[in-house]
Assembly symmetry: C2
Homo-oligomer: 327 residues x 2
DNA sequence: CCACATAGAGCAACCGATTGCGCAAAACCG
DNA sequence: CGGTTTTGCGCAATCGGTTGCTCTATGTGG
């Protein structure tokens, strides 16, 4: 009620100052006596005055918004990942006084992205999943719009923040090897996804010359079932799952086959999530921090928007969770 | 490249007109000859000119943004629901030339909501989950900010768009009754959630005087397991699950108990989602359309923002999917 | 044919901030 | 103490639109 719309003029009038002085007191730019500045700061704090971002944006040619662009059609694991990630983005944005505009895109439909950029609603964009020959990337590059890719991408010459999947998977794999596993099966998902390749690479680097069996494109329960059967026939003593969903299906299949973990064989996942929360024994897995990833990504975008130079690829850490499933 | 920032002045100059004429041609307000108007429209179409929303917003006192406010800590089912819902919101918003600003809130932390409203970044807000004595609702009411609640809420005197859970559950339940089930067990989740109450109510209305057993607050696998055991001891011939996650856990438990569906007993869920996609037999369930819900919600918010009167409660339809699990 | 209404377009103020420039007072300095 | 610098602040233009009002050319009616 009291907040009926205070403007900088109101503040100026109330304090017997000019708009410019008030503006400079708030921004800290320009020459202002410490005393005057404090007076202004106190007053706006007390009255809860906030500069109108439209006006601010108009004169500074900024929107104080970043675009959060994610696929509109993804599966549950991704949703959970994006949600955690978004938390980090929102937090980092708020620190720079930015807000987050959300839109979705499809494989061939980037109209949502075009909307927010052509309408000048964002200063930059964070891109969730990317594909080979990604249309969104092509578009953003052509238009010269600042953007950062969060997560894995094949595209070179793009600014990207990701977890170091290769290193992480290599480390987990070599730990398993040191635990004495002899015949290891890797069950991976969609090879269209770049991250699948990274995980496989890390796996192979970690296994070196050990005996392995690799089964890819296990994108549904039937294919996973077949892969598990093949792995068992191969005489595996350890199954490594590329992600949590696959691991879930593997665990289900093992139950059906009445195989005990870790007695009959060990199981590990390269991606930990809530989905793996309820198993006994608990599953050994690689843990990342999507929120941290989102935060870092947004900070990087802020840096670009503010004209700073940033590294093309930024890698974040991970954690190896050794649990009962590989005991 | 060509799009280096066209303004209304550029358009006016190029056409030998004044800003006002261009502006009126675009908006369609005021007196403009059809001929001139078409000339302007053609030109901006060709040059892909878009009015700067900051400037537009500044003079109209509008932001052309709506806030999408969801909990920051929800489980997977909700995420999936929100994502589908968001699709509808984004679509409806775009039609009114609005975009969607996203932020999250916690049970006691509405700082994200305060940010976007106090900073004048949105014209209205869509509220996802609400709680009893919801802080966000209280805040929005007090400040007089337009908002709509999507989904169930206890709060009275609030504008709300929801599926008619009571009617839907009543209908599915009475169909089951007609199929001849005699002893039915209802396994429900968190009674803190308003929708749980609605579903139970619909269930009870549909069952009338039939023999039932009700088990609530089954919020994890252990409690669901116990509930299923009790239901079986009770001699149930049909288990009704309040939502998809519970149904998942129930199916798992039945498998463990080596009970066949629908031979030993029937199973139905009051909420269909991707999580139930893979069972054989397929699960009888109530299907809603979250995208439609989001669309309707956003349209309602648009109406409020534009000063139209809207009904307090708007109910959307549902679909009963009869599948093998209740054959 | 003249008075008057109306259509079509432009002028300029305004929305609420930022910022370059100018000016007076204070500070500094030899 | 006079001249120069520095400090603190205000004026006014600007960002890119919208809109009330004004002005002229055309249309209408008696």
């Amino acid at each position: 009620m009291d907040n009926e719309k205070t403007t900088i003029d109101d503040v100026a009038k109330a304090l017997g100052l000019s708009k410019s002085t008030v503006s400079r007191s708030i921004s800290g730019k320009g020459r202002i006596s410490a005393e005057t500045r404090q007076k202004v700061l106190d007053y706006i704090e007390e009255r809860n005055y906030r500069p109108n971002p439209l006006a601010k944006g108009l004169s500074e040619s900024k929107t104080y918004n970043v675009g959060w662009v994610i696929p509109g059609d993804d599966h549950l694991t991704s949703l959970y990942f994006y949600q955690r990630c978004l938390q980090g983005v929102i937090g980092a944005a708020a620190k720079a006084d930015y807000d987050v505009l959300i839109t979705t895109i499809g494989k061939d439909d980037i109209s949502g992205l075009k909307r927010i950029t052509e309408n000048h609603k964002v200063d930059g964009v964070i891109l969730g999943r990317t594909l080979r020959k990604d249309k969104a990337i092509r578009y953003l590059k052509e238009k010269g719009i600042p953007f950062v890719v969060v997560g894995s991408t094949e595209e070179k010459g793009v600014i990207q923040v990701d977890n170091d999947h290769v290193a992480a998977c290599r480390e987990l794999t070599s730990i398993l090897k040191m635990k004495g596993v002899k015949r290891v099966a890797f069950i991976g998902g969609d090879t269209g996804q770049v991250v699948t390749g990274s995980r496989l690479q890390g796996f192979q680097e970690g296994m070196e010359d050990a005996r392995t069996q690799i089964c890819l494109d296990c994108v549904n329960k039937d294919r996973v079932d077949r892969a598990v059967e093949e792995a068992v026939a191969f005489g595996t003593d350890c199954i490594v799952c590329e992600d949590d969903r696959i691991c879930q299906m593997v665990m289900e299949k093992l139950k059906e086959m009445e195989l005990e973990v870790p007695t009959d064989l060990k199981v590990a996942s390269f991606y930990d999530s809530k989905l793996l929360g309820n198993y006994k024994p608990q599953i050994t897995a690689l843990k990342y921090d999507p929120t941290e990833l989102g935060k870092k990504t947004c900070e990087t975008l802020m840096a670009i928007i503010n004209g700073k130079k940033v590294e093309n690829r930024q890698m974040l850490g991970y954690e190896v969770l050794l649990k009962g499933s590989t005991q």
